[in-house]
Symmetry: C2
């Protein structure tokens, strides 16, 4: 079985690491010559638009993506001749924040109030309706907090418009949330859906820093969130893993956005679940039976942003698994992560305390938040 992946970043690399023991070979397409998945298969260095002409991709049994902004047109051209999973329509829906929010509304998935903004008068009208604070975001190509401006009050309006005006935008009401969380599911071509336990997530500067899994949410809340996510998956006739990011607000869970691919918030599943998201995505894509999504113990995942911390000091922590993406260090770049798995909550707390004593102090407030959630 040969799998072609559009995108050659760490998500593609981790898919290849999960797929090799299943007997799969991988081909990656990425515009960057140093794309890190190149360590795990054949790397084609080319523009996304070249995909339909590349014979190496045409020779693959299945195509999938590690990147959600591959143009839906390119994916549709590929889907005309071979199996692309998930289908291009899922990308089209996720690539535009307005379409995405309208889809949530249509499927009765609760979310914060929002409005399309294409002009300054529309922004003023939207603020009138939604009120401050609010977040102005580009409809397309935003990720990890890029293309966003928070409007705390009227004084933030001009700088935000100067930065983002001219793009197609969406204004979102600011949700006062207790914490963020993520729900990852895998769906097979026959429509079977399995859910990973929801996770507790912590972002800083728009980038995920910490995931705890399983997160602690009341059972009825989880059941309801799963039903909503299932409506989305079924609507898209989705095949593979998908993550829905949510705000845990007073009024319940509110959808933020979804990613039609494997997702950073579910990296903990490599060591912390019976089957990882990467393996389950590939199983779905390749028409193999889905694997168990049950958690194995209690996990915390820490994202290494910009540069790796000292491996020597951290590998001494029991239950810690290291993931070096082999990317060049650069501010704001995801260059690796670590997951610590423990048998139970008390052991996890002890291990997190050890990690905290060995990490740079920028980590202290984030790990204190996590320890508070583990409580």
């Amino acid at each position: 079985m040969k799998i072609g992946i559009l995108g050659g970043g760490q998500l593609a690399a981790m898919m290849a690491q999960a797929g090799a023991p299943l007997g799969m070979d991988f081909v990656f397409l990425d515009p960057a010559a140093d794309a890190c998945a190149g360590h795990h298969g054949q790397l084609l260095v080319d523009d996304w638009a070249s995909a339909p002409e590349r014979t190496e991709l045409a020779a693959c049994d299945r195509l999938t993506c590690d990147f959600e902004n591959v143009s839906a047109e390119v994916l549709e051209a590929l889907a005309e001749r071979q199996t692309v999973r998930p289908a291009p329509s899922a990308f089209a829906a996720a690539q535009d924040r307005l379409t995405e929010k309208q889809l949530f509304e249509e499927l009765e998935i609760p979310l914060a109030p929002f409005a399309a903004v294409d002009s300054r008068p529309e922004l003023l009208a939207a603020l009138e309706r939604i009120g401050y604070p609010a977040v102005l975001k580009t409809r397309r190509f935003g990720y990890d907090g890029k293309g966003q401006a928070v409007l705390r009050g009227p004084e933030d309006l001009e700088p935000a418009w100067a930065a983002l005006g001219g793009n197609s935008l969406v204004l979102e009401g600011w949700v006062p949330f207790e914490h963020e969380c993520a729900l990852t599911a895998v769906r097979s071509a026959s429509g079977e859906v399995r859910f990973y336990p929801p996770s507790w997530t912590l972002h800083a500067d728009g980038i995920l820093r910490v995931t705890l899994a399983p997160g602690r949410l009341p059972e009825p809340t989880v059941t309801e969130a799963q039903a909503r996510l299932k409506r989305l998956l079924d609507h898209l006739d989705y095949v593979g893993c998908l993550t829905l990011e949510l705000f845990a607000a007073d009024s319940g869970l509110l959808a933020n956005e979804f990613a039609p691919r494997v997702h950073n918030s579910a990296h903990w599943t490599i060591e912390g679940a019976e089957t990882s998201q990467f393996e389950n995505h590939l199983r779905a894509v390749a028409d193999l039976p889905l694997g168990s999504t049950a958690a194995r113990g209690e996990s915390i995942m820490l994202n290494w942003i910009g540069a790796l911390p000292s491996i020597e000091r951290l590998l001494e922590v029991p239950g810690l698994s290291w993931h070096d993406y082999r990317k060049q260090a650069r501010p704001g770049r995801k260059v690796g992560h670590a997951t610590i798995v423990a048998a139970d909550r008390d052991q996890l707390i002890e291990r997190v305390e050890t990690v905290k004593s060995r990490l740079d102090r920028q980590w202290a407030p984030w790990l204190d938040r996590a320890l508070g959630a583990l409580g």
Copy 2:
């Protein structure tokens, strides 16, 4: 960190899979152009004897082996200019069954009676002393039951001598054992030793078929076996993982042989231990801190010999992880394995029953033996 591995089989491949997330690159030397580790790094196709001349190996930060019969002379030549772990002396000791047994004796590690046999009169004298049943084995290059003949009584003497006479041999007393087991340890360059839980192993036709881990042995027996293995590791100033195979006899554990490398009986550690044998071997070789060797739940490993069974039926079993070595099917060849991990013994029994119903019936007696050991 670049690691060179002499040998490019599945053990090398699984080392590379464990090392990639640690940021390691791999170069393999193997005489076979289709050596399966080639999927995971640069494969040099050449004789073992070429190793000292290959600049790609000279450029490695560390060298190790996935194969115990690389000549100690070649390893010594390499060790003169770079770090080879474990040291060549460990290979020299393991490559000759007579040296190996004499070393066990010297270190007061109990084993079955044995005698060197280089001629027919020596064989008769050895049989006089040891008695029937006994096993005649070549001193060198035996593995997976090859180069062996069982002598149940005088009628087996002539055929065994016809098959093996002319080689340097060793006669071993036949040990009536309840079961076989294996003890794997990892030792760092600073002398720290960590033990994996001992496993219960089942062989058929000289080839490992099933491992259960943790195996059930009385605590004093385990402590004593660990002390013996530590004497061996310290004597060899060993760096990396080593497995000691043992017979559980009425008189206690008797040493069979040791392997100066990662070992088939510890494949369960990939999913079933906090740190796999492959990662811990590399951590030791690369002077990184050793990882926890604690078990995660209860595991069973099944070896796929000759050909892979149907992946579709087996991936439905919860907690089952598949390992396709991507080797051509051939009778007697190890082409893959699967490990099933469960939270506890009852869940493992249930999962083994499910697997049994989905495998060819040659598996029934082996799995019944395993269920008996679990029971």
